[in-house]
């Protein structure tokens, strides 16, 4: 099952000015009862987005009409907490293709990349400037260039290189996923099992 290919993207940003955003905020446990990967976007950041009566909370950025786009920008240690891949599914289902932060929790990063959601780690100072720019000019566009590994704020001359493991980069560019790779190497795994008394 290939993932969606990623090359370059130009988009406005949604700035989520919060640190240590945990998976219970991204998607609360009570919404994990589905047996499908779809439909979690509605529940994304549920308790921040909606009040007790189910009305939109005006003070939450995703409910602010000025901020739209496929790039979510958040404070450090994004995605900490549980291993639920539902967090990545919810972000993708809502329509984001990129999450930017100064650091990500390990499992979240893996889950995101395994689903074609690009996580971009930028230095804290760059992130702070980015937040300020978006806040004062919400229509500012950014360009994510995966082949060149560049994150650029358009019109402002602000550019930063980002890192991504070469293997994962290839997967995203070509739309491959790890499962295809592993299944195609099961002969090698079987051979190794025999040599290592694992059978």
């Amino acid at each position: 099952m290939p993932i969606e290919k990623f090359t370059t993207l130009i988009s406005t940003c949604v700035p989520l000015y919060a640190e240590n955003v945990d998976t219970d905020q991204i998607i609360p446990a009570r919404f994990l009862r589905s047996v499908s990967r779809l439909g979690f976007g509605e529940k994304l950041f549920y308790d921040w987005r909606y009040d007790r009566q189910g009305n939109h909370r005006k003070d939450f950025v995703m409910n602010d009409y000025r901020f739209k786009g496929e790039v979510l920008v958040a404070g450090k240690n994004f995605g900490c907490g549980s291993s639920r891949e539902h967090a990545a599914w919810a972000i993708i289902d809502y329509g984001f293709r990129v999450v930017v932060s100064s650091s990500f929790a390990d499992i979240f990063r893996n889950n995101a990349l395994n689903n074609g959601l690009l996580t971009i780690e930028l230095p804290e100072r760059f992130l702070e400037r980015l937040f300020n720019i978006i806040k004062s000019a919400p229509s500012t566009e950014v360009k994510v260039d995966l082949p060149r590994q560049l994150f650029e704020v358009l019109g402002g001359g602000l550019v930063e290189e980002f890192e991504i493991p070469p293997y994962k980069k290839k997967c995203l560019l070509k739309g491959y996923d790890d499962i295809d790779y592993l299944v195609s190497h099961s002969w090698l795994i079987e051979k190794w099992e025999k040599q290592n008394n694992k059978l």
Binding site: D24, P28, A29, R52, C80, G81, I107, P165, L182, W192
Partner: protein, 472 residues
């Protein structure tokens, strides 16, 4: 530093590498794979779509635990989508020949309690599960870490994962914990010192007398909480405490196999000159009973301490603290001791083992539950429950006015009906105090089993040692 010296992590890791992609990740072989009802259905669905079968069904073990009821288990599940997940787990296991500890199985329990207590997890293994607290199994001297559902699918399809080797950290704990202080307090102390992200990208080995003197149950608490400082996992090298624990367990090797296994396991501990990317040191003697006051596990203080003044903090932390305190209904500079408690939850894969129930019972013995406090005692497994009944722990609890329930994750993540109502304060022995973790609006204060017991008896945040002294 000798070049050939290896950490226990290196030894286990290297022994499980099938192949390394040039300048890419490695294929890491997985010995044990645990699955549960919440993070596995989509993985099985993925396999079906690909037309791939389970590669090594004998290496996967399934448990229903996350959304199961902890009362009236003989009745069918009232919640439809929860029931669907549990039924689907049953169907998937049956179709693929996977061993399942279902709701009515005598060994049912939380996956991270059941696996070690049956000897399914053993020293030197690689262990994964679609749950972040898989790190618990590291206490056996294995590499154990949580994975996402795509990775669950990978392991089902190939018994392997693509992984980059993480960096390694050693946390050395000098001295021994004082009477009345538990492994949970040690971890809250460490996390509140280093922050919730300090170990991101690292795998942690815990060493020193403060660790080796701990029982296996306590070591599991330690490894369990590694996640709360951002680590991929934590482990403790196996020693005689480990071997005594494992010996005779249902799935552990026996006879000549045992001797051979022991030979291998004794070679696992880290060599004297092995390299760690980062080393930290703590003193167990300085640890006091701890409790959290905020909305992440690093926001913890001693039970006798004060909620920090925001203006004394680094500016970067202030906004988060302010938000957390507003959520919790607390003010800076307040004492935590004496705060009113509405709920107490003893359970979870952090503190739901027999030792935790014993600790709780030791404090409540001869006392009564405080009025107005609702207490949920949820053993980590059916085995823990049986043991508590056989040992008389259950009787002590009952006499003090507490009811022991059936095992499950329960109020740790509140996927079943065990939810803390909005605005209420709960002292919980679980591992996360995130906003809404125990139900929308719930206010969680994490603590060890003794502090939980003290709260259950007094209805307030209390230093458990005060009650222990009165007991003498």
């Amino acid at each position: 530093m000798a070049l050939n010296d290896k950490t226990i992590f290196d030894k286990i890791w290297d022994a499980h590498i099938v192949h390394t992609i040039p300048s890419g990740p490695s294929i890491l072989y997985i010995d044990r794979h645990y699955i549960h009802e919440v993070t596995s259905p989509q993985a099985f669905e993925g396999l079906k779509k690909r037309g791939v079968s389970v590669f090594r069904p004998g290496r996967t073990f399934a448990v229903a635990d996350h959304n199961v009821p902890t009362r009236h288990r003989h009745l069918s599940l009232s919640d439809e989508s929860g029931r669907e997940q549990i039924e689907m787990l049953g169907e998937n296991c049956q179709r693929h020949g996977i061993k399942l500890f279902s709701l009515d199985h005598p060994q049912n329990g939380i996956v991270h309690v059941t696996g070690p207590e049956l000897g399914i997890t053993l020293p030197g293994m690689t262990v994964v599960c679609g749950d972040s607290h898989t790190s618990t199994h590291g206490a056996l001297g294995s590499i154990a870490f949580g994975i996402g559902t795509s990775e669950v699918e990978m392991v089902l399809a190939s018994q392997a994962l693509l992984q980059h080797k993480p960096r390694q950290m050693r946390i050395n704990v000098e001295g021994e914990l004082q009477e009345g202080v538990t492994a949970k307090d040690l971890m809250l102390h460490i996390i509140s010192t280093v922050s919730t992200e300090c170990a991101a990208g690292y795998f942690v080995e815990y060493t020193g007398p403060g660790i080796s003197k701990l029982t296996m149950d306590s070591r599991m608490t330690v490894c369990n909480m590694s996640i709360e400082m951002g680590a991929r996992g934590g482990l403790v090298a196996p020693d005689n405490v480990t071997f005594d624990y494992v010996k005779g367990k249902e799935y552990a090797p026996s006879g000549e196999d045992w001797d051979r296994a022991l030979d291998r396991w004794e070679k696992l501990p880290t060599d004297a000159g092995a390299f760690f990317d980062r080393e930290l040191s703590f003193d167990a003697r300085k640890v006091e009973p701890m409790i959290t006051y905020g909305t992440n596990p690093a926001m913890a203080v001693e039970t006798g301490g004060m909620i920090p003044e925001i203006d004394r903090m680094e500016p970067a932390l202030r906004a988060a603290h302010d938000k957390a305190l507003r959520y919790m209904g607390f003010s800076p500079g307040e004492k935590v001791k004496g705060k009113k408690v509405d709920y107490v939850f003893l359970g979870s894969c952090t503190n739901g083992r027999i030792e935790d129930l014993r600790a709780f019972a030791s404090l409540v013995k001869g006392r009564k539950k405080a009025e107005g406090v609702t207490v949920w005692i949820v053993p980590g497994s059916m085995q823990v429950r049986r043991q508590a009944c056989d040992e008389g722990v259950a009787k002590i609890l009952e006499d003090a006015g507490f009811e022991m329930r059936y095992p499950g994750c329960s109020a740790c993540l509140a996927m079943n009906e065990d939810k803390i109502p909005r605005g209420k304060y709960a002292v919980a022995t679980s591992n996360r105090n995130f906003e809404g973790r125990q139900g929308p609006g719930a206010r969680t204060m994490l603590a060890g089993p003794l502090t939980a017991a003290a709260a259950a008896i007094t209805g307030k945040i209390t230093d458990p040692r005060e009650l222990q002294q009165n007991q003498l």
